[in-house]
Symmetry: D2
Amino acid sequence: MLIVMHRDATDAEIRKVMDHIESLGYRAHPIPGSLRTAIGITGNQGSLHRAEFEVMPGVDQAVPVTKPYKLVSREARDERTCVDVAGVPIGAGTFTVIAGPCAVESRKQLFEIAEQVKKAGAHLLRGGAFKPRTSPYSFQGLGEEGLKLLAEARKEFDLPVVTEAMDSEGVKLVEEYADVIQIGARNMQNYSLLKAAGRARKPVFLKRGMSATLDELLMAAEYIYSEGNYQVFLCERGVRTFSMHTRNTLDLSVVPAVQEHSHLPILVDTSHGTGRRDKVPALSLAALAVGADGLMVEVHHEPEKALSDGPQALTPEMFRKLMADLKSMAPLLGRTIES
Amino acid sequence: MLIVMHRDATDAEIRKVMDHIESLGYRAHPIPGSLRTAIGITGNQGSLHRAEFEVMPGVDQAVPVTKPYKLVSREARDERTCVDVAGVPIGAGTFTVIAGPCAVESRKQLFEIAEQVKKAGAHLLRGGAFKPRTSPYSFQGLGEEGLKLLAEARKEFDLPVVTEAMDSEGVKLVEEYADVIQIGARNMQNYSLLKAAGRARKPVFLKRGMSATLDELLMAAEYIYSEGNYQVFLCERGVRTFSMHTRNTLDLSVVPAVQEHSHLPILVDTSHGTGRRDKVPALSLAALAVGADGLMVEVHHEPEKALSDGPQALTPEMFRKLMADLKSMAPLLGRTIES
Amino acid sequence: MLIVMHRDATDAEIRKVMDHIESLGYRAHPIPGSLRTAIGITGNQGSLHRAEFEVMPGVDQAVPVTKPYKLVSREARDERTCVDVAGVPIGAGTFTVIAGPCAVESRKQLFEIAEQVKKAGAHLLRGGAFKPRTSPYSFQGLGEEGLKLLAEARKEFDLPVVTEAMDSEGVKLVEEYADVIQIGARNMQNYSLLKAAGRARKPVFLKRGMSATLDELLMAAEYIYSEGNYQVFLCERGVRTFSMHTRNTLDLSVVPAVQEHSHLPILVDTSHGTGRRDKVPALSLAALAVGADGLMVEVHHEPEKALSDGPQALTPEMFRKLMADLKSMAPLLGRTIES
Amino acid sequence: MLIVMHRDATDAEIRKVMDHIESLGYRAHPIPGSLRTAIGITGNQGSLHRAEFEVMPGVDQAVPVTKPYKLVSREARDERTCVDVAGVPIGAGTFTVIAGPCAVESRKQLFEIAEQVKKAGAHLLRGGAFKPRTSPYSFQGLGEEGLKLLAEARKEFDLPVVTEAMDSEGVKLVEEYADVIQIGARNMQNYSLLKAAGRARKPVFLKRGMSATLDELLMAAEYIYSEGNYQVFLCERGVRTFSMHTRNTLDLSVVPAVQEHSHLPILVDTSHGTGRRDKVPALSLAALAVGADGLMVEVHHEPEKALSDGPQALTPEMFRKLMADLKSMAPLLGRTIES
C-alpha cells in the first residue's frame, strides 16, 4: 500500500498517518516529492483496505500494491498446474473439450447425446442435474436421479463427468457420482459452497461470475485452495455489459491474464458466452487461438425441444464440424487435442 | 412473445414458426405488415425463451412481452405491501432506518454501537455474524456466538435485529436468534438459499446483486414467495459499472422502478453503495428524496479499528446528524420517521 | 507513480528501472520491503503512463498517484467557482433550474413553453437548435433559425439561453445568439469542439459522456480551461450500464465526488438520466438532496407531439409541481432557489 | 413496434392507442390474448420511439421490432461489401493488416517503422497526425506536417495510408494526403464529422465507440452512407466495462454479429483492445479465428520512447512473428493474406 498525501498536507498529518501505520504493526516509508509526500507501507501480511487511510486528514489517495491471492498465484508456483480428471489432463498444453446437454432430461436424451459427443472426440461429458434457473417455475433439473444417469453414461461411453453443485449437500452427491464438481457463475462468491468444494476430493471447475474481476475470480479459487483442494480449473463464460448482441460479452482477454497471474488452467464456455448456437463455432476457434486450455460447449440432438437453453446448444453435426476444425488448428498453435 | 420474421421470409417459414408455436400448446397470431410479417404468441403460462425462435429459418427477432414474475408484481397485488418486523412497519409510508456495525466483533463493541444508534433513532439493528469476505484470510464473523450477542442486544435496547445468512444452516440459526434474514448481494441468485429463506417464518431482506437487472431482483424475490414466505423487502446497494469514484454505482432510479412493477418495499444501503463514509450522508438524503422505504447504514464507534469495512461506517456523531436531517426532510415528502 | 517490483526481481532489474526513471529526468526513490521492492517517482510534471514501466523485466505493477487535471482541481483553487450566466449565478449555494423543450420546433412551441417555465420559476431556458440524433433520418433541429427563435424568447421572457453546439461553426453561432454553449455527452471527448469552446467568450455547460470516468470528465473541462475559458459548469446525465429499467443509469454519487476533486459546479439532467417523465420528479428531488448545484429538465406542452424525446419531457403542470417541491425542500438543505 | 397493454387496460384505452397509431398514419393490428391485448404497428418508415406509447394510459410496454439502419443492413444488400483502398481489398475473404506507429513523430521514426512493417507483410500503414488525447498537455500530433510525412512514406514503401481526422477541416486534409479517413472511437457519434466523412471521396474506417451498441455502430455508418460515401469499413477496439485487467474489454463476438446484420467489413484493433503488447498476439490470432476481415496493430521500433501509447505497440520483431503465425493459420480458416 502506498499512501499519497495532499499537496498541502501538514507535517502533523503526515506524522499521524505514519503513527497509524506503525500502530498496526507495519513499517512506514516516507518518500518526500517536490509537490507532495507519499508513504510506502511494508510488513503487512494480508492486503490493507485503502479507504482506511483515505479518510484520514491530509491523505489524497491510498494505492494497493499487493495481490490478495497467494496459493493460486504465479509467485506461489512457477509452472502451470495440470489437473487430472480421471485420467484426462487439463492444462499442460492440451486442449480439453467438455460437451453435453445443458440439463440431463432423460436416459434416452443423455445417452443419445453422450454417444454423439464421444464419437466426435469430446473428452468429458457435461450435463446439469441441479439447474440454477432465474425463474422458480422453470425446470429445476432431475436432481440425484440425473446424477445416476450421468454415472451410467460415464461407464457406458468412458467419459468422465462434469456437473454442477449448488449447495453443500449437492457437493457431497456430485462428489459421489461424478468426476468434477462445477461451481456456476451465480455461485462464484457463495463462500459456503466454495468451502464445501474445497473439502471435497474431486477436482473443481469454477466459473467466473457475471461481473467478477480477475482478482475476484482468483480469490474464489483461493477459497477452494485454502481448504486443501488443489485440483481447480477456471472458466470464462462471458461477463455482463451494456452490449446486447450476445447474451453475455465473452472476455477472451482474461485467458492470457489468468495465465500471467496464476498457474491454474482456464477454459472457455462459448455456449453461455454467446447464448446463440450460430455464434458458438467462431468464438470456440477464437478461444483456442487465444490460448485457452479447453472449451465447454452445450450439445443437444433436438435443441428445439431442450428443457433449458436449447438455443445455445450445438447440434451433434455442428459439434463434429467444430471438433474437426479445432483439431486442424491446434497443432499450428502448439497444442494437442487428444483423441 | 412476438416473433418478427425477416423481410424475405417465405410462407413456408412463417407456417413452420406458427406450427412450432402451436405444437407447444400456444396460440399463434400472424400480423402481416407492408415489409414483413410478425407473429404474436398468446396462451403461454411462463415466459418463453427468445432464442428458441430466433434460430429458426426466416426469423429476424423474438421479443418477450410478458414479465416473468407473478406473485411479487403489481398485477398480483395492487396495494403496496407493508412488512411487519416485530412491530416495526416497513413500507406503508414510513421511512425505516437499519443501523449498526458491519460485523459483530464483541459484546462491548455491539452494545456500545447499539446504544448509540438506538438513541439517535434507528428502528432496527444490523450486525453481521456470518460475513461473506472476498478473501478466505479475512475475518469471517463470530458465527452463532455473534447471533447470541445480537439477541442480547435486541433485548437490552429493544431493537429488532437484521443479520445475514449464507446457507441453509445459517437460515435456521438466523431464524432462531434474529428478526430478519438478510440475503446478501453475492447470494441474490443462490437459489438453494432463496428457497431455504422461503421456507423460514421470519421476514427476508433481499439485496440486489452487483449486476442484477430489475427483473432478476424481482425473480429472486419470487423464489422466496413461491415457497410461501410473503414477508420480503428489497435493497438497492449499488451496481458494478466502469465508474470508479465510488465502490459501487448507487442506482437510485431502481427505487421508483421497483415501485412501478412490484408491491414490495425497497430500502437503500448507502454504505455499500458508496464505500466511503464521507459520501454516505448526501446519498442517504437522496434515498429519502427519491422515495425509498428506508435506509441501511453502517455505524461504528471506532471505524478505524473495525474488522471489516471500517471506511464506510459512519461515526455515531455523523449518524445522529444524519437522522436529524432525515427527520426534518421526511414530512415535506409526506413520509413518517417513527421515533 | 509507484513502481512495484516482482517478489523475485533481481538487483539488476531494479537498477534498470531506476536508470530509466532518471533518464526521463525524474527522481527514483527505492523502498525495499520484506517481500519486494517498490520505487517511487517524483519530479514529473504530467502524468506518466503505467504500461511504460509494466513491460520492463521484473516489474509487477505501476501505480499512478497524481491526478491528471490541474486548473479545474481543488488544489488549484480552494473555493468553489460560481459561474455567472447573464446575471444568473451557478454554484455558490444556489440551485439553478434550466428548463425548456428538447428541440426548438417552432416560434409558437418555444414561446408557449418558455412562458410556462418562466412562470413556474425556471432560471434559464434550454432548447436544441442543432440536435445530435442517432439516426440520420431523424429531425436534426432548425439550425440558425432555431437560434434566432431562442434569442427572441430570451428577450421576451427575460430568460438566458442554453443551447448545444456540435462543431466549431456551431460554437460561433451559439456564442453569437445564446448565453451558454452546451457540449453534449456524445461530444465530451471531441477535442476540436472542446478547444473551440475554450476560445469562446461565453460560459460552457459540459455534459458527462456515457461511459466517462470522473477523471475524464474533469480532463474534458481542463481542455476548455487550458484555452482560457474559465466559465465552465458540468452535468451528470446518466451513464451506460447493463441496467435497462431506465434509459441511462443516473450516477448521483458523482456530484459529491466532483465537489471533492474540483471547484466547478455540477448540475443533473434528470430527463436524459431517466428517459421517462414519470421518473423525473423523484430523481430531481434526489439531485437537490445529494447536493447538486442545479437541474436541467425538459418540458413540453404537448409531449406526445414532440419531434424528439417527448417521453422524457415533463408537462408544464408537472414542472410547476416539481418547482414547488424543490423550493420547499431547498432551505432545509441550506440552498437558495432564486425566484 | 408492438404495444403491450396492461392486463386491466380498458377498451377505451386500447381504442385510444389504436387511434393514436392511426393518427400518425400507420396501421394498428390488435392481438387479443387470454391475459392482455397487444397491438402491432405496421406501415411506419422510420423507427418509432417506444416511450411515446409507454406513457399512454393502459400501456405496459412498447417493443421495437424494426432495425433502425437501412443502407448498411443485410436486407439492403445481400452480398458482403469489399472496400477497395488504393488497390488493397478489404472484405471478400482477405485478411488485411494495418500496422504502424500510434503517432507520426518524425520522418526518421515513421520511415523506420514503415520499412519494417512493409517487409513483414502489412498491407496498409497507419500513423496519427491528429491525436485525440485525454489530456490537453499531452502530445497532440504533428498535424499537416505529419500528413505530408505519411504521403511520402506511402510513396517510398508502396503502402496506402490510414490516418485519423477529428473535424471537418481534418477530413479535407486527410482526404488530400491519405487513402483512408479514420474516425476514432471518441468521435463515433460526432455527427458533424460523420457527415463530413460522408461527403469525402475516400474510404472511411469507423471505430466503435467505447460504449456503443451494435445498432449505434451501424447507425454511425448509416450517417456516412446517407451522405453518399459507400466505402466504409468498421473496427472493434474494445468496450468499456468494469473489467480492469486490460485497458478495454475486446468484444470479439461483435464480429459475427456485424456480419449477420450488415454487409460491411469489420476489423479488430488489438492494440487499443488490450492496451498491452504482451496480450496483442494472442488476441490477434483470436481475431482471425473469429472471422474478422483484418487487424489494426500498433508497431514501434522503440516503444519505450514513443510519444503516445508505447506500451501497447509491438516491436518489429513481435510483429514479424505475428504475421508469420497469421499466415500459417489463415488458409485453415479459408482466408487469404495477400503478400
